[in-house]
């Protein structure tokens, strides 16, 4: 059985409020992916549609999109694992191609979060946790990640300043990313100024600057069997490793609060499948929904030992010219986080890097890249390793 390659990547701009319907939003990412792949809808054998359905007014968007994208009568289905939906969609598409059932599959991730108000959306995100035993206490995503931040700080001496450094890095590259929702400069001094919006407390110890913004957006990844990948693409990027894991939704069922076990487990699987070690990763995209999430990713992916993630950001090792560049497209913190589209956007960035087509954020000649995409508060973890 041959390899599975990525032959096209695309995304819409991630914006505060998309001026169109969800099918039109999905079309933007799909069009970009199809143009990148230089194929027609007749070449696509199936589609996988990914989003978090609690934002959708449309019931079962997959069938609606298949028609709008010109993908009738090919089969389609819907994949959901909260914020890691499109990485899970890629995992499904990989197996559809690897099994020989289909040759070319398009994975379209999308989210139009602006359909509902910000507080309603926070309430829905809180319900991505345990609605029976946790949500009645008034939980929200920032507060859950803040609990991890607190534990990391107490155990390892990580500081709010270390987390601010991650946001400063993100903004350095977010300013270069035309697709990002947040493109302003963020300086370390903003976090030290109690009057600055960045320093405003959200859920201690996390501040506004530690949190990514909601956004509307779509993404598209097109995968193909080895034969078709070589036929359609001059620079196919190969899927070398896939890992996926779950854990207890309720924090009461967990034992680790300084890292995410799903990231540890998913990366272990992906490294083993790819036959490589963390040292061989040349560029990475990690799920920085909050600054602490990127810090924990450094450690959970093996870029740093537990507790030593802060040294990577203090030494700028995760900047573009550092030892292990991470989120040099601005990450979720700058791009925004349209839940179902996020994983596809991360994969797009790594594919462009491996094709040496990343422009201003191009890392020097990378051969292997990694994508870390987390759903919920470390409820779902997906790690994907790509190589040229």
């Amino acid at each position: 059985m041959g390899k599975v390659g990525i032959i096209g990547v695309g995304q819409s701009a991630f914006v505060r409020q998309y001026p169109g319907s969800i099918r039109e939003l999905a079309f933007e990412g799909f069009k970009a992916g199809m143009k990148d792949a230089q194929i027609t809808v007749k070449d696509v054998d199936a589609s996988v549609i990914c989003s978090a359905p609690e934002y959708d007014k449309q019931r079962s968007p997959a069938g609606v999109f298949a028609e709008y994208l010109g993908l009738n009568p090919q089969p389609t289905c819907y994949v959901e694992s909260l914020c890691s939906s499109s990485s899970m969609g890629l995992r499904l598409a990989y197996s559809l191609v690897k099994s020989g059932l289909h040759d070319v599959v398009a994975i379209i991730g999308f989210q139009k979060m602006s359909e509902i108000s910000s507080s309603e959306s926070q309430e829905r995100m809180g319900r991505g946790a345990d609605i029976q035993w946790e949500s009645p206490f008034g939980t929200m995503m920032p507060a859950y990640y803040a609990m991890y931040a607190r534990a990391h700080m107490v155990q390892y001496g990580t500081t709010p300043d270390d987390l601010a450094l991650i946001r400063v890095k993100s903004a350095t590259y977010g300013q270069l990313n035309e697709m990002a929702v947040y493109r302003k400069a963020v300086t370390f001094d903003m976090f030290a100024d109690p009057k600055d919006r960045m320093a405003a407390p959200v859920a201690s110890p996390l501040r506004v600057g530690d949190c990514c913004a909601n956004a509307d957006g779509s993404s598209c990844i097109i995968v193909a069997c080895e034969e078709k990948a070589r036929k359609f693409s001059k620079k196919p990027v190969w899927i070398l490793g896939l890992g996926a894991a779950t854990t207890s939704v309720n924090l009461a069922g967990r034992d680790l609060f300084t890292g995410l076990t799903v990231a540890q487990e998913a990366s272990r699987q992906a490294y083993r499948m790819a036959g490589i070690s963390p040292k061989e990763i040349d560029v990475a995209e990690v799920h920085d929904c909050f600054t602490i999430a990127e810090m924990m990713a450094y450690e959970n992916l093996g870029f740093a030992k537990p507790g030593e993630g802060k040294d990577l950001i203090r030494s700028k090792a995760t900047y573009k010219d550092g030892d292990i560049p991470v989120n040099v497209d601005g990450g979720l913190l700058s791009k925004g986080h349209p839940i179902g589209a996020t994983g596809g956007s991360q994969i797009r960035t790594i594919v462009l890097q491996l094709r040496n087509e990343a422009g201003a954020i191009q890392v020097k000649d990378p051969e292997i890249g990694l994508v870390h995409n987390i759903g919920g508060v470390g409820l779902y973890g997906n790690v994907t390793i790509l190589g040229r």
Partner: protein
């Protein structure tokens, strides 16, 4: 189905927390105990494993043969966060701190009692979970200093 039959539906769980998102569960007796000031978990009578939050089903031996046990003694504060913003329906409670206590055999997710000053809260401190009635008549439990 008669109207009186409908009334027999046990939806006590809608009383849990400031806003409950669940009304019917096989663990509804938890609310009955909470009304009486008791925080209860479940124990599998077939394999002996303790569960908090309580469960109706044992994933280890697939048994549904459960008994209630009372959460007693003290836990250790694992981590917490003080919220300045809350979800819809929780604005009147702000600010409040959510937290996790480790009781050794199990952990409990909940809220820190509102009367404890921030500077007296420290990870690693001993706390105990206590049943609590909210101003809107709902029930939850909070973590108190010992």
């Amino acid at each position: 189905m008669s109207r009186s039959k409908e009334k027999e539906i046990d939806d006590r769980f809608k009383k849990f927390g400031t806003v409950s998102f669940t009304s019917i569960t096989k663990t509804n007796d938890f609310i009955g105990y909470l009304e009486n000031g008791k925080i209860m978990g479940t124990r599998c009578k077939d394999c002996g494993i303790n569960f908090f939050p309580p469960r109706a089903d044992c994933y280890r031996c697939l048994s549904g043969n459960m008994e209630w046990f009372e959460v007693s003694g003290f836990g250790t504060l694992v981590t917490y966060s003080k919220l300045e913003y809350g979800p819809v329906g929780f604005d009147a409670d702000l600010p409040y701190s959510i937290a996790l206590l480790d009781y050794g055999d199990f952990k409990i997710f909940g809220r820190i009692a509102g009367n404890i000053p921030d500077n007296e809260i420290q990870v690693g401190m001993k706390m105990k979970a206590a049943a609590n009635r909210l101003p809107n008549g709902q029930l939850n439990y909070v973590f108190q200093k010992v």
